[in-house]
């Protein structure tokens, strides 16, 4: 039981290193999945695809902090 608890705590700690806000993490994961698909097409080989990738991440970041500040 103690080992299971310690393992659960360790998993929670490692998860919390990367994920703090679940909505933010889901949005980011969807963004990565979308661009992983885009990059398989010829259009994904142009520089505008990576620029759009960065802009999407930046938009997710800004919307996430705005949402977090509204909820506090």
């Amino acid at each position: 039981m103690h080992v299971a608890d310690a393992a659960r705590k360790a998993v929670r700690k490692v998860t919390s290193l990367f994920v703090e806000d679940r909505v933010f993490a889901i949005e980011l994961a969807l963004c990565l999945a979308f661009y992983a698909i885009v990059s398989r097409f010829p259009a994904g080989r142009y520089a505008f695809a990576s620029t759009a990738f960065f802009l999407t991440i930046a938009a997710i970041l800004v919307s996430s902090v705005a949402r977090a500040s509204r909820s506090r």
Partner: protein
């Protein structure tokens, strides 16, 4: 020192500085209230465990193909860096309180003083410093391995972290006080931007999406994340002002 070594060593140094300062506060609080020998032995055991993790994981990563490594590390760095950046933005915007090492030291010292062991070895104090060093150090290990492995510069990244550790330990044990004047949020903000830029760069590269300007695009990404973060701070401050006005 080459650009690759610097680009791995600098984020590793500053990120480690932040984490070591946080761990030091707890070690000092335990040392001041429950004895320096127990505090130091717990911390040393934690450092030993982390060193074993680095020695075991570092060479193992060389067996992973570089494309796969860059994708995995890039995605993890994005999640990790953006988490740091998000927190720093919320702190600058006033949505959450700034990290106050002096207040944490006072609080922890009061808590540890009330739970002192009556006799025998103080395993509670040992476990507290061991946990603090391992948990804070885990982030350092991740940053060193992620930044170092994907850029093929594990040694400079490790040197950056070791240098930060040496500076924090020397200053902390010389002063016997938490390093409250280290600008923790500014460092977290800067490192968050760097790690997010590296994460975006490696993920895009691994997915096969070319970045304009190739390696120089890293600087553009850093500038882009800085602008986005400043917009985020403005959004948080604006949101707080309008909610205050409604009250």
């Amino acid at each position: 020192m080459t650009n690759v070594a610097l680009s791995a060593g600098i984020p590793s140094f500053f990120a480690s500085l932040v984490e070591f300062v946080e761990a030091l506060t707890i070690v000092l609080a335990v040392g001041a209230t429950r004895g320096w020998r127990t505090a130091a032995s717990g911390a040393a055991a934690g450092v030993g465990l982390l060193a074993v993790a680095v020695i075991a994981l570092g060479p193992a990563l060389r067996a992973v193909p570089i494309d796969t490594l860059q994708l995995v590390v890039g995605v993890l760095l994005l999640f990790f860096g953006l988490r740091w950046l998000r927190k720093a933005i919320l702190r600058y915007g006033g949505a959450i309180a700034l990290h106050d090492e002096a207040a944490i030291f006072e609080r922890q010292s009061a808590a540890f003083a009330s739970g002192a062991a009556a006799n025998g070895y103080d395993w509670g104090a040992f476990a507290t410093t061991f946990n603090a060093v391992v948990l804070e150090g885990l982030e350092v290990v991740f940053i060193v391995i992620a930044v170092g492995a994907a850029a093929g510069a594990l040694v400079p990244a490790g040197i950056g972290a070791a240098l930060a550790g040496a500076i924090v330990c020397t200053a902390g044990f010389a002063l016997r006080a938490p390093l409250a004047r280290v600008p923790e949020n500014a460092l977290k903000f800067a490192v968050g931007i760097m790690l997010s830029a590296f994460g975006t760069f490696w993920t895009a590269e691994a997915l096969g999406m070319p970045l304009p300007g190739e390696d120089a695009s890293l600087l553009l990404l850093i500038a882009g994340f800085l602008v986005a973060s400043l917009c985020g701070i403005a959004a948080v401050k604006g949101g707080r002002r309008s909610s205050d006005a409604r009250r």
